[in-house]
Amino acid sequence: MIKLEGITKTFPSKNGNVTAVNNVNLHVKKGEIHGVIGYSGAGKSTLIRLVNLLEKPTSGSVSIKGTELTSLTPEKLRQTRQKMGMIFQHFNLMKTATVYDNIATPLKLLGYDKHEVKKRVEKYLKIVDLFEKQKSYPSELSGGQKQRVAIARALSQEPEILLSDEATSALDPETTNSILDLLLKINEELGITILLITHEMNVIQKICDYVYVLENGEIIEESSSIELFTNPRKQTTKKFLDTISQRKLSASLISQLKLNGTVTRLTFIGENTGQPLLAQVSQKFGVEPNILTANIMELKNGIVGNLVIHLVGEAEQINASLQFLNNQGVTTVEVEGE
């Protein structure tokens, strides 16, 4: 559906060129939700703006449903953009227009007749649950409600693709969740393919099938979200994961615990919380597992459990225990101390 190949974007600036996006490849299949996560300045906004050619790539190809965008005439490009909705961090609604007009204006400009405009505005206001607010002005709405209007505006053109540039970054956690639920609903019920960018790991956790980690304009790691949550490889990825779980124990505590035994992080996929396995380990190998931290994360496509345990016992028995856990499909990683 969306395919970026070898996309690079360089901005000229006073002190040399800035490469905001560097040789990025990305492929979002129909009906999937993909997320790009990265810190501020990583090039996320530039990347998503390249998808609908709000930013022209310096090199590389952008193809939407098999059509190469970079070679389209302005007229054809406008037509393609009509099939791609976009939502933004700051909503980008007209302040002087009511909720109704904010959705109706683009439709009218795109040439839909009065009747159709009204039908669509009402339909999508209902979908985002704001039908009662149609006469309000944006200044009379909360952040979450404004984003709902923006989503309705995007949906009213019945796009096949939705691009989201930090749509929840200006919202509180609870409102963020309700917007994410709405995006999931749009994806599931209307079958809209979504590409989003964010700096919040919980956004990825909640709705993404697949993740790209962007750093200095490059994708440094990519995988399905389950894989990313269970087996992060790059330091930046681990740091993002630390933001949503108390994965971190102080290095001095770890060093102290390591005086007798090991400190190990266990990651499970699925409902299996690990408790029964630990009991088995204890019985089988005569080691004593103590749970230091535990959490369970609900991802879009499954559940990932995370345990940090202190295993006390003979070195040989500990190794055998870890081996056993590995065989049961549990990822084990030793936690570093000082």
């Binding site: 037509q79 009509q82 976009m86 002005y137």
Partner: protein, 220 residues
Amino acid sequence: MEAFIQDWLPIIGQSVIETFQMVIISLFFAILIGVPLGILIVLTRPGQAMANKVVYQLLNLFINIVRSIPFIILLFFILPFTKFLVGTTIGVQGVIVPLVIYTAPYIARLLETSLLEVDSGVIEAYKAMGIKTRQIIWNVMLREARPSIILGLTIATVSLIGATAMAGLVGAGGLGDLAYRFGHLRYEVDVMYATVFILIVLVQGIQSLGNRLAARLKKD
């Protein structure tokens, strides 16, 4: 008092009409020229839809030059042009041309400021929806800028009223001319006070009308 009104009402009334004529006609043409000029200067700015350095800088230069000439000088400076355009350099007709040339660049500048204040995010959102630049200008930029444009036009109108005071120099009459002729040259101070009073009321009225209209359109 009654005698004063009896004597002067027709003359003052005539002057009010002349002032209104000059302001309304000049404002009409100044808007007709100033608005497209303002839009053009925004669009040709670097990074905008029709970015064009040469046009942008020429427009800027032109606006700055006209804006730096005091009206009284402009009035005489363009006499030949006025003559060429309307066939006369005196009377209301003769003063309209310099008034328009004086006000249009001012309106262009004010409009430019108003349009640049429009949230670039909204414009980007409309671009992303595949809407034509022309439609974005009319239906998004001008619409969102309305409150600020109204305030700008109010300022331009007030400054236009000020400029009409000098219209007497080419025999176009008006309130400013009345105050000057009778108040200053003939020491009929009452006439001067009355005229000044009317001007104050006029300016106040226009300003509060503008403010109220802008407030009504502004929704945040």
